[in-house]
């Protein structure tokens, strides 16, 4: 507790896009409740605050830290260790921290090819084939930039994590609800869920929250959404052949994307009890396909043009295999 008696709060971004921070700022009025109950000590997006100050804190001095973004380089990992040490409750906040998120798709490729692509594009003029290097001898002296890891890692792959809050980004009403809960816990009116739980989300699937009608119809082909002449506004998208990730995805967002006519791309991560998101989705897709003929099955599956991306869009870094072979064998 700080001098004014308010528990300390921190929020930090590692390899993140900033969307998690924006979603947090979008709790609007709730910010006031938050302000009345917490003392933010470290929150680069919203306030001044130094890493030095965090280091000066006693271990466990921060009550709650929301950590967003994956671990892409040594700097990200050092911050994860520091904040773990200083925090009583460390929350992996958003898909990136929980399971790698979209940037985790980089785990399908070698780091070398990441560089190759970035510094050798059509518009890049790089005759000497330069690559950024962690240490560089400039004419005036040495320059340092963080070192990229071979694979992107989830937060819990580098430090123990207390709670997981999925979503890309987590929806603001869920963030507000979690903050409410913590406040109630502080006032002795509620209890924290068991360590390791997923918070700020539901326990069923996105399909359970989805208003679209399901007729348990089997499908004879997968279609790309742009090829659908008129998306039926009421029927389940998967039953229309559009590869919707709803069946494997955790509830919590209110099935926003299907409500807007777009397929769920799985940002809320694996549903309760699912270890590997992709495996569950494969099972779900396998059971809606209406065919017993190997050749026809093969033709139907050609409709899913990017299985690895479809099944592991947000979850590759946190999946059982964690990375494709090119990422670790080169």
């Amino acid at each position: 507790m700080s001098a004014n008696g308010k528990p300390k709060f921190a929020m930090y971004w590692a390899a993140a896009c900033g969307g998690c921070e924006i979603a947090t700022l979008n709790i609007h009025e709730k910010v006031l409740d938050f302000d009345a109950n917490f003392e933010p000590v470290f929150w680069p997006v919203a306030m001044d605050g130094k890493v030095k100050d965090v280091e000066a804190l006693e271990d466990n001095a921060i009550l709650l830290t929301l950590f967003n973004g994956g671990i892409r380089n040594d700097e990200n990992e050092e911050m994860a260790h520091l904040l773990r040490r200083k925090s009583q409750i460390l929350v992996a906040f958003g898909s990136c921290a929980c399971e790698g998120g979209i940037p985790g798709l980089a785990n399908l490729s070698s780091l070398d090819s990441l560089f190759e692509t970035a510094y050798d594009t059509l518009s890049t003029d790089n005759p000497e084939n330069l690559r950024p290097s962690p240490v560089y001898e400039a004419p005036e002296g040495e320059l340092h930039i963080p070192r990229l890891y071979k694979v992107l890692k989830t937060l819990d792959q580098v430090v123990p994590v207390d709670y997981y809050m999925p979503g890309c980004p987590p929806e603001s009403h869920q963030i507000a609800a979690v903050i409410d809960l913590v406040i109630q816990v502080l006032q002795g009116k509620a209890q924290l869920p068991p360590k390791g739980s997923v918070i700020g989300a539901g326990v069923s699937t996105c399909c359970d929250e989805c208003d679209r009608k399901r007729n348990v119809k089997k499908i004879s082909k997968f279609v790309r959404i742009q090829d659908v002449k008129e998306i039926d506004p009421e029927l389940c998208l998967l039953e229309q052949g559009i590869p919707c990730n709803g069946p494997a995805t955790r509830s919590g967002c209110g099935a926003l994307c299907p409500a807007a006519g777009a397929q769920c791309i799985g940002c809320y991560g694996p549903a309760e009890g699912v270890v590997d998101f992709g495996a569950r989705l494969m099972t779900a897709f396998a059971s809606v396909i209406d065919s017993k003929d190997p050749q026809e099955i093969s033709r139907i599956l050609d409709g899913i043009v990017d299985p690895a991306g479809q099944f592991y869009r947000f979850n590759l870094a946190g999946s059982l295999l964690r990375a494709g072979k090119p990422a670790w064998k080169w």
Partner: protein, 488 residues
């Protein structure tokens, strides 16, 4: 052999972009470097993914301007399929985009840039924030700013399906349209937005233009760089955010030409430096001559100021009036004084709001013809939008199934990486003389240099506009650290 200088782990930890300044023997500034610490590799892992997902994946490059990536990727996907979305779809996308611009510019002005002016550049740091602004000009303004952000997000959610990382743009249009009730709601919010933008411009006129010190600061030399400028314009050469051609003007304001999206490689190239993960775009025809301005250097700038300089005016009446006033006051085109970018941003704020209402009252906007099924074979396509922080280019190549085989992205902030670096060096030269560093002055002025560009290194790495913690390391000619100054 130079000794390896160990870097204070704290500075390394915090480095969401850090600055290194080197001094020469006499103790003057030899060089300054702005380092960008991260690469996430989107161009690599977009390969193998279906083209329609680009609008969903590249969103996640930046949570501050996901709408810009969503649109650029969607337009590139249209181009890949050679499909022209129906008018209603284009208008809905532009409507979403106008509302997004409005929110983004509001946030920037009130939370980030405004404080420098409203509180004054030499006010203590503790006061130079949005709370300081509210205290000075009244509580009511805080409520208005929150309202403005809420309205912008509401429109994004209605059309885009989600507040952050919209999901509705697909090749050939959108997954949904809007209802008449939604349209009315959007229009109502838009009318409020126009008033808010006018109010903001008035605030700026009263507090800044009416104050000689600030005006002098704006017109002074420290933030002046005579570079090229680029910005998207419509067929009448008026500023446009969603569509058109990119106009390029030289440091004298003469138009060098306009390029369509697919011609960008004739105009833009990117330079690589080994000490940073971010690249430096420049004008290909002029060439990369290093971090210098002037007509012979290919360095260009792509900001609200750049867009005004590169255009012949604004397409809406109220914004046009302000545009004229802008150049009258500042002595004609082009304006090189970079601090005027803040004013230019507010003129764009007004344009965004006016355009929002224009589109919301368009009879076609509620049409249910919001998608055209692509029929042609997908090949290659470029999509360009004007992101708030500069022209955003997405380029994809696909196989015949529409699966991406190659991608090239030039993101908004990247455009301004060279000019930002130059502004930093210039500020450093002004405040470090013969080994004497004016710490506060340097920090303030460097910080102001950042803010006017509104650098969103979220696009490049992940810091939010202007909120970049700064660590400035100053080294002498022997490479030893003589001073580390910081603002976190």
């Amino acid at each position: 052999m130079k000794q390896r200088i160990s870097i204070d782990p704290i500075t390394r930890l915090e480095g969401h972009g850090k600055i290194e300044i080197f001094l020469d023997e006499a103790g003057n500034v030899a060089n300054a470097y702005l380092l960008i610490p991260e690469l996430r590799g989107f161009e690599r892992f977009c390969v193998g993914r279906p083209i329609e997902e680009m609008a969903l994946l590249t969103n996640r490059i930046c949570g501050v301007c996901p709408e810009a990536h969503h649109m650029a990727a969607a337009k590139a996907a249209d181009a890949v399929y050679h499909v022209d979305p129906p008018p209603a779809a284009k208008k809905l996308r532009e409507l979403l985009y106008s509302a997004f611009y409005f929110t983004d510019h509001t946030t920037h002005f009130y939370a980030l840039a405004g404080p420098d002016f409203v509180m004054g550049p030499d006010a203590p740091v503790a006061e130079r924030n949005i709370l300081g602004v509210i205290h000075k000009v009244g509580l009511e303004i805080g409520g208005k700013v929150i309202q403005a952000r809420k309205y912008g997000h509401a429109v994004v959610e209605i059309i885009g399906g989600r507040k952050v990382h919209p999901c509705t743009s697909i090749p050939g249009g959108l997954t949904k349209g809007i209802t008449e009730e939604q349209r009315q709601e959007i229009e109502k919010m838009g009318r409020w937005a126009i008033e808010f933008a006018q109010f903001s411009l008035k605030l700026f006129a009263d507090m800044v233009l009416g104050n000689k010190t600030y005006l002098d600061l704006i017109l002074g030399d420290i933030y002046t760089h005579k570079t090229y400028y680029i910005g998207t314009v419509d067929e009448n050469n008026k500023v446009n955010f969603y569509d058109g051609k990119v106009s390029v003007v030289d440091p004298e304001g003469k138009r060098l030409g306009k390029y369509a999206a697919h011609e960008y490689t004739d105009w833009i190239a990117e330079h690589v430096e080994p000490w940073t993960y971010l690249k430096f775009p420049y004008l290909k025809q002029i060439g990369w001559k290093g971090f210098v301005d002037g007509k012979d250097s290919g360095v260009y700038c792509a900001t609200p100021l750049a867009r005004l300089n590169a255009s012949d005016g604004m397409a809406t009446p109220l914004a046009q009036e302000e545009y004229e006033k802008f150049y009258q006051t500042l002595g004609g085109k082009p304006v090189h004084q970079r601090l005027a970018t803040h004013w230019a941003r507010l003129i764009e704020l007004l344009y965004a709001a006016e355009r929002w209402v224009e589109l919301a009252t368009d009879p076609e906007i509620t049409s249910d013809n919001f998608h055209t099924v692509p029929t042609e074979k997908p090949t290659e396509g470029v999509g360009i939008v004007e992101a708030p922080r500069g022209t955003l280019t997405h380029h994809y190549w696909t196989d015949e199934r529409g699966v991406v085989t190659k991608a090239n992205l030039i993101v908004g902030t990247t455009n301004n990486y060279a000019p930002i670096s130059m502004s930093i060096k210039k500020a450093a030269q002004n405040f470090i003389k013969q080994g004497v560093t004016v710490t506060e002055g340097l920090l303030n002025r460097v910080e102001m240099a950042f803010r006017l560009y509104d650098p969103c290194f979220g696009c490049a790495t992940h810091s939010l506009p202007g909120q970049m913690p700064m660590i400035v390391t100053i080294r002498n000619a022997q490479g030893e650290v003589v001073d580390t100054i910081r603002r976190d």
